[in-house]
């Protein structure tokens, strides 16, 4: 498995918070999701990766050749969106296009216009508005249009792109990510952070769970779905089962939760039902276990 970005011994300290990542790689050709609670360190990690935050300790390697984001054509290859709009508040859509054309060689104004039209940013109500007058959802659409309109990026890094979007737009975003990955023979990758795990599950290949500044679980989603298992059982077995479960809840009708598949044999003899958990269940279980 090739990596597009490799990081070692990344440390970033703020008052009362430390991001500490001994080793972390982004696999090439896949969509990687950073999952975690507010304040877990997802944005810090993403900003370091994107070259937005250069004030950190540790090593980072881009595309197997460059040691920081300012070397070579790294910045031309990375498309980055923040969780809130980074455009000047008084710009209109047309000026966003003009500025992006100046900043990035491979920015395609026609593609930008096309995407803006697809994302309903060119309606009578929105096309003449200033950035500051757009809703949060439309601000995010505008940022997305600005990165998807660049022809030569190899990786998109998006901080909470789904959060301000409505359900239909989230679905569109997933389609856009899959289409992006399908171009250029598997040489393109995507990294995004998200709270909307269920909405993004069908576009997530590699999941990374961050808690309190550390990576507490990571893996390809299909592997994680085999590592963890969702268990439901009878009230009489609850006490005995509890100590083998990562998450556990109980009612008078029975118990349920997530356990490691390798611990399933410890529940042998109990009347239980099992199923493969979704990414949402797995993530919540891992986060709770690391609280």
């Amino acid at each position: 498995m090739e990596n597009i970005i490799e990081m070692k011994n990344i440390v970033k300290k703020y008052k009362g918070f430390e991001l500490n990542v001994p080793e972390f790689n982004i696999p090439k050709g896949f969509a990687t999701a950073l999952i975690g609670e507010n304040g877990a360190g997802k944005t810090t990690l993403l900003d370091i990766m994107a070259g937005v935050n250069l004030d950190f300790k540790g090593e980072i390697n881009y595309f197997g050749k460059f040691g920081n984001a300012d070397e070579g054509d790294v910045r031309e290859k990375i498309g980055y969106t923040a969780s809130t709009s980074f455009f000047m508040p008084h710009w209109k859509i047309k000026q966003v296009s003009e500025v992006c054309s100046l900043l990035f060689e491979s920015f395609d104004p026609e593609k930008f216009d096309r995407i803006c039209t697809d994302l309903s940013l060119k309606t009578e109500q929105t096309k003449e508005k200033k950035v500051s007058e757009l809703s949060d959802g439309n601000k995010m659409r505008l940022m997305l249009a600005s990165v998807f309109a660049r022809r030569d990026t190899s990786v998109l890094m998006m901080d909470e792109p789904a959060s301000p979007l409505d359900p239909v737009m989230r679905d569109n975003l997933c389609d856009m990510i899959r289409e992006y990955l399908s171009e250029d023979n598997g040489n393109r990758s995507v990294v995004f952070s998200t709270h909307n795990i269920s909405d993004m599950e069908n576009v997530t290949d590699y999941a990374v769970v961050v808690a309190k500044g550390k990576i507490v679980e990571q893996g390809f989603v299909e592997d994680l779905k085999e590592k963890y298992i969702s268990v439901k059982g009878e009230p009489s077995d609850a006490e005995k089962a509890k100590k083998f479960m990562l998450t556990f809840s109980q009612s008078k009708y029975g118990f349920e939760g997530i356990c490691l598949a390798e611990n399933l044999d410890k529940l042998a003899g109990m009347d239980i039902s099992t199923e493969a958990p979704g990414l949402h269940q797995i993530s919540v279980a891992v986060m709770k276990a690391n609280m």
């Binding site: 050709g29 896949f30 969509a31 997933c174 389609d175 899959r178 289409e179 990955l181 399908s182 023979n185 598997g186 599950e201 069908n202 576009v203 997530t204 290949d205 590699y206 390809f220 989603v221 299909e222 779905k225 199923e275 493969a276």
Partner: protein, 125 residues
Amino acid sequence: MKIMQNSGEPIYKQIAAQFRDDILAGKMENGEFLPSIRGLAKDLKISVITTLKAYEELEAEGLVTAVQGKGYYVNARDTEMLREQHLRKTEELLLEAIAAAEIAGMTDEELKNTLDTLLRLKGEE
């Protein structure tokens, strides 16, 4: 290809099963390339890793072969093994039929007659 999100059967298994059926039924020929992993993921609205896992399963079964940078092509040369798989599937389904017949209280004779009738009807098609 029909993918059910909530059927309980993992999506990668559903995909592998449909390609397996097409390959075993001869609808996909030896040498023919499967759709690209990321193209299929896009068309089916699922993640890349899910399609990759489906293809890896087919590869493990010896139905397709991966070529670095080019994708997966049908390579079901081992016809004996394919026949074996068909035989196993036939047995499984017959066992299922026998179980259902037992629940319905059919005698062995009635079950055999039913099978004969079905075979005859199929022959007349």
